[in-house]
């Protein structure tokens, strides 16, 4: 018997009597205060939220990252970027990426998480290898909790998707929080309010 069949058979023999599948509610969401809660959650996670308009972002980024040389953008209508992600064949070529600018799909107020599917990344690696990350998010795309977020996205639609909640961090040395573990050293969220 194959290992597959042996495992499935053992599980079938040993599984308990059927237990019904409980319904998953969305849980009550407050009607107001989504933006405030989202900003607070991002702050707790080490991110920075800037409420702004699309045409102001390029200038804000220039001021925030004056030394950034290699900039990739999948939000070309907002920030031009210095390189074309589509021209990159091997993600290793992104090793010197200073900044990635991309669009988020849904933002979660209770935890600051932003859903980004592969289609918004060009290369999956770009989101993790960049020294800094900036995400453009429509304020209308905020929901209260993860239940609501999962109800609005299709996790299997794209080959890969990720909730990003803050810059990369670690507390593995004596529980001291250090921002910038392996991924981006900062996260700036531009919340489009117009």
């Amino acid at each position: 018997m194959s290992s597959r069949d042996a495992i499935l058979q053992a599980v079938r023999q040993n599984r308990p009597d059927p237990v019904p599948r409980p319904p998953t509610p969305l849980f009550a969401s407050p009607d107001e205060g989504l933006t405030t809660a989202f900003v607070e959650a991002q702050k707790r996670a080490g991110g920075t939220v800037v409420s702004t308009t699309a045409d102001a972002i390029a200038t804000l980024l220039d001021a925030r990252f004056p030394d950034a040389r290699v900039i990739a953008s999948t939000a070309g209508d907002i920030v031009a970027g210095s390189m074309d992600l589509h021209a990159v064949a091997d993600p290793h070529e992104l090793a010197d990426l200073d900044l990635l600018v991309c669009r988020g799909v849904v933002g979660v107020a209770e935890n600051g998480a932003i859903w980004i599917p592969k289609a918004h990344l060009g290369h999956r690696a770009a989101l993790f290898i960049a020294q800094h990350l900036a995400i453009v998010l429509d304020a209308n795309a905020l929901v209260w909790n993860l239940h609501d977020a999962y109800a609005r996205i299709d996790v299997a639609e794209d080959s890969f998707g990720v909730f990003v909640a803050g810059p990369s961090k670690t507390a593995d040395i004596e529980q001291s929080l250090v921002i910038g573990a392996h991924g981006p050293r900062s996260l700036t969220v531009f919340l489009l309010t117009e």
Binding site: V11, R15, P16, H92, N111, F160
Partner: protein, 475 residues
């Protein structure tokens, strides 16, 4: 006929002895205790900020109960969907088969350098030494895991692998292994050095291996949670991604992710969510994506009605952080891949004799059960394992004798009263060294309370007779 060879018993994990070595350094024990209690307090604040926390725990527990009751069906569904997504699904009965499968994939691609993100399953399977023996360089990329790997140790905690190591020790280790300046012990600068050191490994790796937090039967994808971004940095650069998972990591549908993810990070570290919650459904263009489904004793555990709930565990570590024994004995004292309360109810199922002491490494205070996000009755299971250990004859001789005597005394009220009276007198009269003699294991680190003048029964009888005289006044 050949003469039977004499039996060579395998070592039994002696938690108490290992814990005694740990607590010998009192300052360090207190530091360890305080570090973990701080995490527990962060967990409390995060949990209390969610109004529906208890409803979520209840729901998570019920979803897991449902999933376990149809685990075979969900596993088959996952396989079918994942295969349709272009993921190659493998099945491993045990640790050895898991390691062979992983090695075969790596060998086929001529992989020499593997980067790994945190996976307690591969620790359980002993994957690193297996691959290293075959000439493959394995680099653990989670900072805590890299620290213990460089130190030649295993993780002492499932979420915070290097929680037992001080920053000065990490500084000395990094100085020796990755060339940081001597005496550097600043967590920020040490982390930066590790970032540079590991980035070189990420960029030169031929394959990446990750664990799995949740696998979704309905969509045939899986979710990996990290704060550092190390799992993603590894897998998005390499041509091969292998994800190893225990068969209990299956959940029915994507809607359930919301429930478990709201509980996981809050229970683990007090964060609202991990920084990266990555959903993998299809391989990257030009990449191979493999999932290895590992049993290694889990299907057998499912058959143990008293203990199967332990398979609901989502590996948050909350029970470990809150456990007064773990906090004061350290993860290595358990001698098992998963330490602390959850380890103490999982490992006896793997080898009851070897891990016979672990169910006793608890005060049964119940805190582990109170914080468990999937409501596993950990203290109840610890108690039940103790009964089994004793029934199987593994309890020590002195413990068996004491229990037999105690059983006789508790069964007989007159004997109980007499023994109590005798005990109260003896404790007052006997010299210290007679009370705290060598055989009194309990008294080695503890003082007995001041013996009372009378028993409760005597006190009650005295006061009851007074009450009896006033009978009728109460009505």
């Amino acid at each position: 006929m050949s003469t039977p060879l004499p039996e060579i018993p395998l070592p039994v994990i002696d938690h108490a002895a290992a814990a005694a070595r740990f607590v010998a350094d009192e300052a360090r024990t207190n530091w360890h205790d305080a570090s973990l209690w701080q995490v527990r307090q962060k967990r409390d604040r995060a949990a209390q900020a969610v109004p529906e926390w208890e409803a979520l725990r209840d729901l998570a527990s019920k979803i897991k109960a449902h999933t376990l009751s149809r685990l075979d069906e969900y596993l088959a569904q996952f396989e079918e969907q994942a295969t349709a997504n272009g993921i190659q699904v493998h099945w491993a009965k045990d640790a050895a088969e898991h390691n062979q499968i992983v090695h075969a994939i790596l060998a086929r691609h001529g992989v020499q350098r593997l980067v790994k993100s945190k996976s307690m399953l591969t620790e359980e399977c002993g994957l690193n030494p297996y691959l290293e023996a075959q000439g493959i360089e394995v680099v653990d990329t989670d900072l805590g895991e890299r620290i213990v790997q460089l130190a030649g140790e295993g993780p002492s905690h499932i979420v915070m692998p290097a929680i037992h190591v001080k920053k000065e020790e990490i500084g000395a280790l990094f100085h020796e292994k990755i060339g940081t300046p001597a005496g550097e012990a600043d967590p920020g600068r040490l982390t930066e050095a590790a970032r540079q050191h590991l980035r070189a490994h990420f960029l030169s790796a031929d394959a990446a291996l990750t664990g799995v937090n949740f696998a979704i039967a309905e969509t045939g994808g899986f979710v990996v949670c990290t704060n550092e971004g190390n799992a993603d940095l590894g897998v998005h650069l390499t041509p091969v991604h292998i994800a190893s998972m225990g068969i209990e990591k299956i959940i029915p549908a994507a809607e359930h992710l919301g429930v478990f993810l709201r509980l996981l990070a809050r229970s683990a570290t007090g964060q609202d969510l991990t920084v990266y919650t990555s959903h993998f459904h299809r391989p990257r263009q030009g990449q191979e994506l493999h999932v290895v489904l590992v049993d290694n004793g889990r299907s057998a555990h499912l058959g143990r009605a008293d203990f199967r709930d332990a398979l609901k565990c989502i590996r948050c570590g909350a029970c470990i952080n809150t456990c007064p024994i773990y906090r004061r004995s350290g993860g290595h004292s358990y001698g098992s891949t998963v330490p602390g309360p959850i380890g103490s109810i999982l490992t006896p199922g793997i080898d009851l004799k070897k891990y016979q002491h672990l169910p006793f490494a608890s005060t049964l205070c119940g805190s582990c059960g109170d914080v468990c996000p999937v409501k596993i009755d950990i203290p109840g299971q610890l108690y039940r394992w103790r009964q089994l250990v004793t029934e199987e004859g593994h309890a020590g001789r002195s413990k068996r004798r004491v229990m037999a005597v105690a059983g006789q005394i508790f069964r007989n009220p007159r004997l109980f009263r007499w023994a109590g009276k005798l005990g109260r007198r003896l404790l007052r009269w006997l010299p210290q060294r007679a009370v705290y003699h060598q055989r009194n294991v309990w008294g080695r680190a503890r003082d007995l309370p001041e013996p009372p003048r009378q028993s409760f029964l005597e006190w009650y009888a005295a006061h009851r007779s007074d009450n009896a005289n006033k009978k009728g006044h109460d009505q």
